[in-house]
């Protein structure tokens, strides 16, 4: 009898995890972005966004990149995405576009951040455009990264909740 109760718990937890995964993948399709929700990691866009704020992104091809938009991009070869604003764009007739970005809170544009010899960003570097945001919530992700013990405790805590009784 005890064994059956154990399977129940495991299946329940599995259901929660797969539902979360389905929602995440669904969001990826709807928004067109590989990372539809990101956490702001630096203060380079203050006072608009602070470390720990959550951003909701879309990356639809029909939406052209225009100045003033807040883009989340990755520099080739680097993992960490950067959230800054588009400062200049030069777009060709066929849709090829190159653009420059700058953080609101930075004194200079991002050329110094790009790869050596790279002067512009292109569509392929873009993870998404910020369309909405919620403050503070992302702090949990930052805490989990900075304090791994916290991650283990948080996960075991949520596993307790999956118990049906």
């Amino acid at each position: 009898m005890l064994v059956i109760v154990y399977y129940d718990d495991v299946l329940n937890f599995g259901m929660i995890v797969s539902s979360a995964l389905m929602i995440w993948k669904g969001l990826m399709v709807v928004t067109g972005s590989e990372s539809p929700i990101v956490v702001v990691l630096s203060g380079s866009m203050e006072p608009a966004f602070h470390r720990g704020d959550l951003l909701f992104l879309t990356n639809r091809i029909e939406d052209p990149i225009r100045v003033g938009e807040i883009v989340v991009f990755r520099i080739e070869g680097r993992e960490i995405p950067i959230v800054h604003r588009v400062l200049k764009i030069h777009e060709k007739q066929n849709g090829d576009i190159k653009f420059l970005t700058k953080g609101d809170n930075n004194a200079v544009d991002d050329r110094g951040l790009y790869k050596r010899g790279q002067h512009w960003l292109e569509k392929k570097d873009v993870v998404g455009r910020a369309r909405g945001f919620v403050p503070y919530i992302g702090i949990v992700t930052i805490l989990m990264n900075d304090y791994p013990k916290f991650k283990v405790r948080a996960l075991s805590f949520s596993a307790c909740f999956s118990h049906p009784s």
Binding site: P47, A48, V67, L87, K88, K92, G132
Partner: protein
């Protein structure tokens, strides 16, 4: 609008001094507006590129700041470089004011103000060292 051009390698650099601009944006600030990111952008077409947009000036206004702005004798905050020589003789450079509304939480809209100013560029370069 008064524009001056300075020759620099093979790019055209323009410094425009704005006349003076007054605007009152009290009506945009409501309970869910944390800040406004205002920017003046120039849009134009060249032989090399069908569409170019360059931000010349920007400003952050927080809720609580004086909502009436009076800007006089402003210099362009960012250099106006073209990707090529497309500014020379360009009659159709349009300046528009836009703003990004940053809420306390929610959607981040980008709004463009109605109305714009056209700045025609002269056909020749001017060599001046007026910085």
């Amino acid at each position: 609008m008064h524009g001056r051009e300075i020759m620099r390698k093979d790019n055209l650099v323009e410094r425009s001094d704005l006349g003076f601009v007054t605007f009152d944006i009290t009506s945009i600030f409501d309970w869910n507006v944390k800040q406004l990111f205002l920017y003046l952008s120039a849009e134009y077409s060249t032989k090399n590129n069908a569409l170019n947009q360059v931000v010349l000036w920007d400003k952050i206004m927080l809720r609580g700041d004086n909502p009436r702005l009076f800007l006089k004798d402003m210099k362009s905050k960012y250099f106006f470089f073209d990707d090529g020589n497309g500014l020379k003789g360009n009659r159709n450079v349009t300046l528009t004011l836009s703003w990004n509304v940053v809420p306390n939480a929610g959607i981040l809209p980008l709004v463009t103000g109605s109305g714009h100013v056209s700045v025609p560029f002269p056909d020749t370069y001017e060599t001046t060292k007026s910085y």
